[in-house]
Amino acid sequence: MGLITATKAFCKLLFNRELSASFDQLIADEPTPKITSQQTPAAAEQPTKPTAPARSDALSLIAALQREARLLDIVTESLDGYSDAQIGAAAKEVLRDTGAVIERMFGLEPITDAADGAELETPADFDAAQFRLTGSVSGEAPFRGKVAHHGWKATKCEIPKWTGEKSSALIIAPIELEIKS
């Protein structure tokens, strides 16, 4: 998969307009209006199986990060009154597990192999999605400059598929109830 395709596919899946729309509908708790104009060819080929997702992939991603790495717990907790060592000990675990989830689902890679500080020249066929130009920008591509950040790209986008009912679509992590025998 080319760089551009990968990046686009990633953004499309994560921030797909249709998905965002249905998410908004869920929050508003109103009936979803028909989005006939955005039917993709793939969906049209399978008329028997309506593929409208029950909830946004963004929620499923957040749910996975909480389930496997406790990310929501740590970002919502007040840090007041804890020592840096205490925070560090907890954060180390959460960061490690968060990294594992992101790696598994997105297969992160730097866009360029060039090290920070190295000289890099853009292609003449300049793609503004791949480069963020800073400093004294003028003239036409190719542009030459020093790499300040190598950028990131996803090599895949494999978000868990949620199969639940619409009524529970906003549940990110269920209540945990321990029943004593």
Binding site: S60, A63, A64, R67, R70, D73, I74, T76, E77, L79, Y82, Q86, I87, A89, A90, K92, E93, V94, E158, P160, K161, W162, T163, G164, E165, S168, P174, E178
Partner: protein, 600 residues
């Protein structure tokens, strides 16, 4: 049409499916291009994810939990159980409803393996399943995942290789086969031993280079330490018409000790440290601790690893930072615990410590009383590399398999101990392969590819010799059982696709009644030939498994007794069959004996 070759690792803790196309053209270094199937599975209620491994756990949900399709799969509605990642995580907080390690129960002949007994010791309100059913469910899941990915290539048309531990007895193999056929695998699928599969994965990775690494007269120990079991196999490098050949010369006993034991030991040690600091963990945290201990093992037990490692367990509730506890463990502590506990320095003459069984023993799985894996290896190598004429050379190489060996220090310790046995001749690791977690499945696939394309194969035949118990005739002594003899029906190394008549006198069997024979196997008696009669043997020498039964029916006969002889067969697919034959002619009556796996 057979389009794919499929290798399935039906593991004690994980299931993996690898595949390649039958017409795969060798790439640059001659290796076959083998892929892993991504297996959709529940990772939480209502949440599906694709992963290359399917954990061998089954969660038997309460009705309320399964209602509303929370456990449904793309191919199954109204499910009341879950298999895979979600089931494994439930094993921690809801053990009474979670089936794990069902594979170890398959070869446990103290229980009826077709009876719903798992989860072991759980209450009556749980709809339990049998060890055979559990295996069937994992395989059904793999089959459904295959069909979801390759709808045009039904699995019953493909060439399938399924792996079993080398130490599995004929009954456990038969039960695995039964589960596999019920799950929809083609009737002609092939059973392959796991350590051999691991070696095939290495061979595929090496391409033709292996002939430069291994030399005639050398031998390789395959040491496969899984989550709960350890499986040993010895492979010799032979020569035939100037061509190098690999021959499997011995397989070890079924050892119930593995990586999980090591992580549990570390967790137990660390929770002791935490308790000193006034912290007790709940079950959920204990599992988190277990995972942290695995990571600590891998970090600390490497040559240039740090001297200390902090093990942290996050707080259970939503207040995460405040209730997080952390404890430092140092390299020496973990090394003492794991290296000396599980891979102790020992002599070739050392043997595992066998605890004398107490009068009252729980029926549960027969875990090893001696967790010292190196001592078990000493017993295995000592038995087969004795230095006598027909024995094999001391291993020159070790092929490690299993996730445990991600901790490099464990490998180093084992190589050091084994090198000392060989008079400081260096024992080296056969490195490479396709990753410790997936090599059994990929190796099984490569084996299938070779079978189809006429590529190289490891020779070896049956890894044990088999015996049938015969009660001797003679004057009965009141109160004393008749003396039992054992007649060898399958010699060690009997090749697949062959059969043999067992020379003996005739046995008289009663018509119309079930005839039952005690059945034994041995992985040390390599000299016995069909018909060899043993008067006495030690408990370690011959291991008894389930009895064989046949009911003789004979139409148009007034006789009450039929004189029969035995005829044994190892099919092309590696299945053992034993027949009673009446008469010598071509049209002689034959009855097949079947294993009786009822509770003995």
């Amino acid at each position: 049409m057979t389009q794919f070759i499929i290798g399935i690792d039906l593991g004690t803790t994980n299931n993996v499916l690898a595949y390649c196309e039958t017409n795969d053209v060798s790439e640059t270094n001659g290796a076959v291009n083998i892929q892993l199937l991504k297996i959709p599975q529940l990772v939480a209620a209502n949440t599906l994810e694709e992963k290359p491994a399917l954990p061998s756990f089954s969660y038997l949900a309460a009705d309320a939990e399964a209602a509303g399709g929370a456990l449904d799969l793309p191919w199954a509605e109204n499910r009341n159980f879950a298999i895979g990642q979600y089931a494994r995580s439930k094993g921690a907080d809801t053990p009474d409803r979670t089936v794990g390690a069902s594979k170890s129960w398959l070869c446990h002949n103290k229980v009826d393996r077709r009876a719903p007994i798992l989860p072991w010791n759980s209450g009556d309100d749980v709809a339990k399943i049998s060890p055979v059913t559990a295996a069937q469910q994992y395989l059904e899941h793999l089959v459904a995942a295959w069909h979801a990915a390759f709808a045009d290539a039904p699995i019953h048309d493909q060439y399938v290789v399924l792996t079993v531990p080398a130490s599995f007895d004929p009954v456990a193999r038969e039960l695995t086969r039964e589960a596999a056929i019920a799950a929809g695998l083609p009737a002609n699928f092939v059973l392959l031993e796991e350590p051999q599969a691991a070696l095939y994965a290495w061979l595929n990775q090496q391409g033709d280079q292996w002939r430069k690494t291994l030399q005639v007269g050398q031998s390789v120990l395959v040491c496969d330490v899984g989550g709960g079991t350890t499986d040993l196999t010895l492979i010799a490098v032979d020569q035939n018409d100037g061509e190098l050949e690999l021959r499997r010369v011995a397989v070890g006993d079924h050892l119930l000790v593995g990586g999980d034991n090591m992580d549990l030991s570390t967790a137990y040690f660390v929770s002791g440290k935490l308790a000193e600091a006034g912290t007790t963990l709940d079950p959920w945290q204990s599992v988190a601790l277990w995972h942290s201990c695995r990571a600590a093992k891998e970090t600390l037990l490497t040559d240039d690893g740090p001297e200390t490692h902090a093990i942290t367990v996050l707080g259970r509730g939503s207040k995460l930072i405040g209730s997080t506890v952390s404890v430092e463990v140092n390299k020496q502590e973990v090394a003492d615990l794991l290296l000396d506990g599980f891979f102790p320095q020992c002599e070739l003459t050392d043997r595992p410590v066998r605890q004398s069984a107490s009068g009252f023993q729980e029926i549960g799985l027969p875990y090893e009383s001696d967790p010292g894996i190196t001592r078990h290896i000493a017993a295995f190598v000592g038995a087969h590399c004795s230095g006598e004429d027909d024995s094999v050379a001391m291993p020159n190489y070790v092929l490690f398999n299993g996730g445990v060996f991600k901790a490099n220090g464990l490998k180093q310790r084992m190589l050091k101990v084994m090198s000392a046995w060989s008079g400081d001749q260096q024992v080296s690791e056969l490195s490479g392969g396709s990753g410790l977690d997936y090599s059994v499945a990929t190796g099984a696939c490569f084996y299938g590819f070779n079978q189809q394309s006429g590529g190289m194969r490891i020779r070896g035949g049956v890894g044990s010799s088999y015996y049938v118990g015969i009660e001797t005739t003679g004057l009965a002594i009141p109160g004393a059982p008749r003396p039992l003899k054992a007649i060898c029906v399958v010699p060690f190394g009997m090749e697949e696709g062959t059969e043999t008549a067992v020379p003996s006198g005739e046995f008289a069997l009663v018509v119309g009644q079930p005839a039952q024979f005690r059945f034994f196997s041995s992985n040390t008696r390599k000299e016995d030939q069909p018909g060899t009669m043993l008067d006495r043997w030690t408990e370690q020498e011959l291991v008894e498994t389930d009895p064989l039964v046949a009911t003789l029916t004979l139409e148009d006969s007034d006789e009450n007794f039929v004189p029969v002889k035995f005829r044994s067969k190892i099919t092309e697919l590696g299945v053992f069959e034993l027949w009673c034959v009446a008469g010598d002619t071509e049209d002689a009556h034959r009855w097949k004996l079947e294993f009786n796996v009822r509770e003995s």
